[in-house]
Symmetry: C2
Subunit: 338 residues, 2 copies
DNA sequence: ACAAAAAATACAATCGATTGTATTTTAAAT
DNA sequence: ATTTAAAATACAATCGATTGTATTTTTTGT
């Protein structure tokens, strides 16, 4: 069953011009005279010709498409990074295929496979919370193309990571709580296999130590940092009865915890001060406003995409830089303003 | 420059078996004996073979990919719809390509073009606020495949729209404000070329009329319903000094308006009651909680994708149904609880 | 053991575009 | 007018997989 779409051969036949010339004309090759180029363009329009990218990509071995793997598209931070990626890609003439890992390694692996099959030119990825082995990434790197990590750095040979300095941001956030007078600070952390969460935790611990506060493992709660996780941890914190500060590695968990604490009559920031991470839009709306770390999300997308495209076009596919560090800032609101 | 990737021909040569047999083996065709199938599978694994989907898709004229055009990915409602689409597509073995129109007709048109070039099997689209002409959609419908509209219905021949009953939802929301005692209700509306906003406005007006309230054109504010638009309109409303209720066609504008009004010392809901649309997560966190219309967002994605895939596979590409209407509900919170 | 049927595999065309090389046409130079 | 160079176009192979048809091999029945 033949597809009804117009091909260069249809144009070729209609004008009695070889299809190679038609192809060149449509690609503005200087090898075609202005006169025939016009004729071909005209006929193409007339027949409603639309290039078949599959054929073109097969032949040229390029798709001008980049794959993006994101843990969850509905997180504002990621949605904004994607918007940044998209902007840069669009301007550079690249298409973007977005895949949600939903924090599942299995899905992530399948998507890397599909992206490889579809011969995307490169991949931008923020690894899932389950990702502790890297074969699927290495496989792509070997047979596919460059990979650039964003937000969650990952040290694979010849791959660049674009992120903020999580250690430092975390250190500053914790220091801020200490300066507000908090003595017993809890930390909401993510899976320790993920470097980002390890770094945030390290920053937290180091800040405590530098200010002569004791770090207690019992005050560090590791979870997936979902809304539900925030509530569950908040429950435990209420029972502990000693916590006077919370530093959460993301806003999602911080916000649900805040809501739970408020519902239990706990005063924020007076009883417990709270600091989050990501500057989610909700953090500015909740009362009291949530102090949080603002990351250059949109810009992170721009930069990661720019770096990837550079690597794609250099064809060396080897990154000079292991990591690109963007600056972040602590936005102080009332949730920590004792 | 040859790509270094393994092809069926490499496997074919390595085993001295024809490539057609290799292809069939890898596709589990019954025409290949179990013995050689195993041998081929084994060798494929050994050589790190990865099917080239470009070639396959070119030959079969199917991509198992659906295009999704979304106004803005960072709006929670859309992000959730996409998650729903993605879930269904993933289960059915379809890939999803997501494109952000950013409410621009130009971008939307370019994307439809690209999707057509890339031969996606079908498209799910929520048209941009600028989309008042449909040539780009008709072109895809003619040469491409089925189109299913979600959220923002669009009546093109043989296309299905999946949405809620905006008129009714709007009617109920307005009725609710009236029942709370509001007499001078303002409406934040979107571009009237978009059926969705027209319907929401109609529902608003009809509810007023049914309750013997005068509809004033001056109380209806048309905009892009962005955060900024909400603030600008709120400013005007403060100047009017008569408004005692706001019904906004989305939460984004309602929320920023609420914040502006609060900053001006206006009491919500006592001075002005507010109702929004979409049940954005922020609406549950802002104080007072924003009364809003909850749409089955995730489910809408599921259903739209299911319908599209059905049409793709039926190959008739003709929809039986012009529209699929999902039910919505008004979530009453304190912003309208006088 | 042999013909017929069934199973397994090989051959070859094809999807639609790109591109190196060959050929023809046009223009420039003598 | 004729040679030469340059410009324009045609030819043909190719990208990697799929698939209808042909051929070979194996199995079955008698």
């Amino acid at each position: 069953m033949k597809s009804n779409k117009t091909t260069i051969h249809d144009i070729s036949k209609a004008l009695n011009i070889d299809s190679s010339t038609v192809s060149r004309a449509l690609n503005n090759s200087p090898r075609v005279s202005e006169k025939t180029r016009k004729k071909i363009r005209q006929k193409a329009l007339e027949l409603g010709y639309q290039r078949n990218s599959l054929a073109s990509n097969l032949r040229t071995n390029k798709t001008h498409t980049i794959g993006v793997i994101v843990p969850r598209i509905s997180r504002n931070f990621f949605a904004t990074v994607i918007a940044g990626i998209e902007e840069t890609a669009y301007e550079a003439g690249y298409n973007v295929v977005i895949c949600q890992s939903l924090e599942s390694l299995e899905r992530e692996t399948k998507f890397m496979d599909t992206l490889l099959s579809n011969r995307v030119d490169g991949v931008l990825i923020s690894i899932s919370m389950e990702t502790t082995s890297y074969e699927h990434l290495l496989a792509f790197k070997q047979h596919g193309g460059p990979i650039v990590f964003y937000d969650r750095p990952c040290h694979i040979e010849n791959c660049t990571s674009v992120s903020i300095d999580d250690f430092q941001a975390s250190y500053n956030a914790t220091k801020h709580l200490i300066e507000q007078g908090c003595k017993h600070i809890a930390h909401f952390s993510g899976p320790q296999e993920i470097e980002l969460y390890k770094n945030r935790k390290k920053g937290f611990i180091t800040a405590l130590e530098d200010h002569n506060l004791l770090y207690k493992e019992a005050y560090c709660f590791e979870s997936g940092l979902s809304s539900n996780d925030g509530i569950e941890i908040a429950k435990k914190i209420v029972k502990l009865k000693q916590i006077d500060g919370i530093y959460s590695a993301n806003d999602t968990a911080a916000i649900s915890a805040m809501q739970y604490l408020k519902s239990k009559g706990i005063q924020i920031p007076n009883d417990i001060a709270v600091v989050g991470f990501n500057n989610d839009p909700i953090s500015a709306v909740i009362e009291p406003g949530l102090t949080t770390v603002n990351q250059p999300d949109f810009e992170m997308g721009n930069i990661a995409a720019t770096e990837l495209i550079k690597q794609i076009q250099n064809k060396t596919a080897n990154s000079e830089k292991d990591s690109i560090i963007l600056s972040s800032e602590l936005i102080v609101r009332n949730s920590s303003n004792k």
